[in-house]
């Protein structure tokens, strides 16, 4: 009975760890308990980092829990007498230096991913000059929905002919897409699990977001920062389409937008 406890301290944490490991290895039916499919080119490095830290964590978990339950097992033997060792410099140096090395290693390793995802800003070439790519879409978060603004016929954002669409974002695949996000009321968060993107949208603090999708797919945009009672319902669709389809779509939107404007104008003049 006494030794049963040491088994409990082995089985429960290690059992949890094993289930997690099977999920990470993609073994059905546990495969749905791991990261959702990734469609962002730079997101792959996030997945690698997430996987690597989990490998480190799994090794440490199995090692420490194995030791813990082994010591508990041995310590439950009746005839055993306790050790009086309360200090061992060499051991203490080793168990400080090895974790320090691992942690510093992880800290250095994650730089590449952070660099790829956040520190590098997409560049583009125009008129023979390379410079930062301007945003194609302005995203406005509000309680409880998303507004997306595209440049109108003048090709510029924040002008009178901007095309406005609610809760549907359509962007081309195979190229860097830059979004400018801002909030109209409270803090929201622009979260697309399938693109490995999350950015708090803070009122008064416009920000840039970018990604490059490889594949045409439809994803969900959700809000990840509490914004009130309708927080759950604050979602939008994200449609990633090939460039040609995107061009057709945006032309259509511009036409519709113009037609709508013209209708409003004529309505206004007839009144």
């Amino acid at each position: 009975m006494q030794r049963g406890w040491s088994l409990l301290f082995l089985i429960v944490p290690v059992g949890c760890g094993v289930v997690y490991l099977l999920a990470a290895l993609g073994i059905p039916p546990l495969d749905k308990f791991w990261l959702p499919p990734n469609y962002n080119q730079t997101g792959a490095s996030i997945d690698r980092l997430f996987g690597l830290t989990h490998v480190v964590a799994a090794v440490v978990l199995f090692g420490t829990m194995g030791a813990l339950s082994w010591f508990c097992w041995a310590g439950s033997l009746r005839e055993r007498t306790s050790s009086l060792v309360a200090h061992h410099t060499a051991l203490e140096v080793v168990w400080s230096l090895i974790p320090a090395a691992i942690l510093i290693g992880l800290a250095v390793y994650q730089f590449q991913s952070w660099n790829e995802n956040k520190l590098y800003y997409p560049q583009w070439e125009r008129d023979g000059q390379v410079g930062p790519k301007p945003p194609q879409v302005k995203v406005v978060a509000k309680r409880f929905g998303w507004e997306f603004y595209y440049a109108g016929p003048d090709g510029l954002l924040n002008t009178f002919d901007d095309v406005f669409i609610e809760n549907l974002l359509v962007v081309p695949t195979g190229e860097d897409v830059v979004l400018y996000v801002e909030s109209r009321d409270v803090v929201h968060s622009f979260f697309v699990p399938g693109l490995r993107i999350k950015q708090d949208v803070v009122p008064g603090l416009g920000q840039y977001l970018w990604f490059r999708a490889q594949q045409a797919v439809e994803l969900e945009i959700v809000c990840a920062e509490l914004c009130g009672w309708g927080h759950t319902n604050m979602q939008a669709r994200l449609r990633l389409v090939p460039r040609a389809e995107f061009d057709r779509w945006i032309d259509e939107q511009i036409l519709q937008h113009r037609a709508g404007q013209a209708a409003r104008l004529s309505q206004g003049s007839s009144e």
Binding site: C16, W34, L68, G204, L226
Partner: protein, 596 residues
């Protein structure tokens, strides 16, 4: 402070001739105040726990009638939770568990009860201030009850209360803010008292490196509180001013609220986040360092061997506390903070894992070659260590900002902090209650019930919190009243139902504890002075100790970890036991260490 003569007179008759009110209600005795904190926290824990169950119910069976309480609480809605009240629930669950349960249990209850006993003092340095620190909790309780009475219109901006949501929309937010200001003042009085008591009133011979780890944990925690809390209190007052005083610390200009423009100054929502986390990250350590200290003491006692690496443990505690002040930005990796600043917070966060890891290795080394007595406190202690490992490891995963992009504000975070707060802090509290119950009430708790309680709690807590990692890896966000509105999360419903079943199992297991606790108060076996055969000074006096704590002032001769299980040797040597040499320290005793 009274004269030595008065102190001597008091230790003769044990107590002042005081009335019932002064003895049990407005008492200045640190032990009574500690027990008051204990009882009020345990009651609040029931309230906070019921809220957690309501949250779990909603996530497993959204928009269905809540059993038992639903019909009474939400009569108008057919017994189901409203989206507004769901936000109130998680806001108040966190607020209650952090400010009314975990901190008051560790710091208020055990800090008050154990510090004077363990350092050999007759009471705290400032007994009246100590009494105030408890009674200032009551206005805070009152504020939160009023806030809760508002139902749907209660505080719903999360315990993090990010503006502009909390300032512009926050319901009953003022009650919440004022309540926390009271908590802040209460903790501040407590922490100043603890620091003074530990610095000034240690028994003769109680050098710094003879202090039990419990006292070290509480001492470092008190310093953390003294430095971090004023920042939170100031931030709370700033938010109050933003709501009522026409200031604009946190609200930017250009907001459009309900279709109309709001004219405000150019405040900074991120300023609140910085101020809030500057307190609330150290608060994480406030909620774990005392637990680490108590666990170290109970572990050494249960292993019947000296604590491994005592000095290193003290240094790593201090390192955790010191570094705890420069890691707050890891709560803000995706907040819009500078991407370069993020890198420095990442580095400090990675490094803070190191002292925590070192402490774990020291506990493991203490377990190595031990002669373990599997008492209930020992089970909870080892449970603490194993859960702390899981909570610590998930912390390393999220310390890398790129990984945090995905898991920030998801259930991965919820899993992480419940492993640390419930899996570690609360297990340590259960260990400590079982361990010091005989000292507090003069009776033992039932061991069989204690072990069943441990087994069920341990299994169900893992069943509840471990699968939350899976939810988080999928991107399942926190604070969603109905996550299944999102197509991508619909297949996670069965997993959530599993979690909820485990949560109900865990709650049911706590009934065993309630029965054991209340029953042992009345019919528990009478406890001897030192039932665990422990070394610290608290076991040198009666169970429960008289007013003034010690008949004669103890003199300390050694550190508290002299356990030895070899045949023919004394099993343990208490700190106050003199062997060969004699100190002259006894003469210092009781001079300038008075008691009210």
């Amino acid at each position: 402070m009274t004269s030595p003569q008065a102190t001597a007179a008091m230790s003769e008759n044990g107590r002042h001739a005081t009335g019932w009110w002064q003895r049990f209600v407005f008492s200045r005795d640190h032990k009574t105040i500690g027990l008051q904190f204990l009882f009020s926290s345990l009651i609040w824990m029931v309230v906070g726990g019921l809220m957690a169950l309501a949250i779990r119910w909603q996530l497993a069976w959204p928009w269905t009638e809540i059993p038992v309480l639903g019909r009474w609480m939400f009569a108008a809605e057919g017994g189901q939770i409203t989206p507004q009240f769901y936000n109130v629930l998680f806001t108040m669950h966190a607020t209650i568990m952090i400010f009314f349960v975990v901190i008051p249990l560790l710091v208020g209850a055990f800090g008050n009860y154990l510090i004077p006993l363990m350092i050999g003092a007759r009471d705290m340095a400032f007994p009246t201030m100590n009494m105030l620190s408890y009674w200032l909790m009551w206005p805070a309780f009152g504020c939160m009850v009023v806030a809760l009475m508002a139902g749907d219109q209660g505080p719903d901006a999360g315990w993090t209360a990010y503006p502009p949501l909390s300032v512009v929309y926050g319901h009953a937010q003022d009650w919440w803010l004022v309540g926390l200001v009271f908590v802040g003042i209460s903790s501040m009085l407590g922490s100043l008292n603890y620091i003074t008591t530990i610095v000034q009133m240690r028994a003769p011979g109680m050098t710094w490196f003879r202090l039990p780890m419990t006292v070290w944990g509480l001492f470092i925690t008190a310093i953390l509180q003294a430095f971090a809390l004023p920042v939170l209190t100031a931030a709370l007052l700033m938010q109050l001013l933003d709501r009522w005083g026409g200031t604009s610390f946190f609200v930017p200009s250009g907001l459009v609220i309900e279709g109309t423009d709001v004219v405000t100054g150019a405040g900074q929502p991120l300023l609140w986040q910085h101020l809030f986390w500057f307190y609330s990250h150290p608060a994480v350590y406030i909620m774990i360092l005392p637990a680490m200290g108590m666990v170290s003491d109970m572990l050494s006692c249960g292993c019947r061997r000296p604590l491994f690496g005592y000095r290193v443990m003290v240094v790593s505690m201090a390192a955790i506390a010191g570094m705890g002040f420069i890691v707050w930005g890891h709560h803000m990796f995706v907040s819009g903070m500078s991407y370069l600043l993020t890198v420095s917070f990442m580095a400090s966060t990675m490094l803070i894992a190191l002292p925590s890891g070192v402490k774990t290795f020291n506990w493991l080394a203490t377990l190595w070659s031990a002669r373990i007595r599997w008492t209930t406190p020992m089970l909870f202690t080892v449970g603490f260590i194993s859960m702390f490992v899981i909570g610590g490891l998930s912390g390393v995963v999220m310390a890398a900002p790129p990984a945090d992009i995905l898991i920030h504000d998801t259930y991965f975070i919820v899993a992480h902090f419940h492993y640390v707060l419930f899996g570690s802090s609360i297990l340590a509290v259960f260990a400590a209650i079982h361990f010091w119950f005989p000292k507090m009430f003069g009776r033992m708790m039932n061991e069989t019930l204690g072990k069943i309680h441990f087994l069920l709690t341990y299994v169900f807590l893992n069943g509840t919190f471990f699968p939350m990692h899976f939810l988080g890896a999928r991107g399942f966000p926190r604070r969603y009243a109905d996550p299944y509105v999102v197509e991508g999360f619909r297949d996670l419903l069965p997993l959530n139902q599993f979690i909820t079943w485990c949560a109900f199992g865990m709650a049911a297991a706590q009934l065993i504890f309630v029965v054991n606790f209340l029953g042992s108060l009345i019919v528990g076996q009478r406890a001897e002075q030192n039932p665990w055969r422990a070394n610290t000074l608290d076991w040198e006096t009666d169970s429960p100790p008289p007013h003034g704590n010690f008949a004669a002032c103890p003199v300390v001769h050694r550190w508290p970890y002299e356990y030895d299980n070899r045949p023919g040797r004394p099993d343990f040597v208490p700190q106050a036991m003199a062997l060969m040499e004699d100190d002259n320290a006894a003469d210092e005793c009781d001079s300038n260490r008075g008691v009210e």
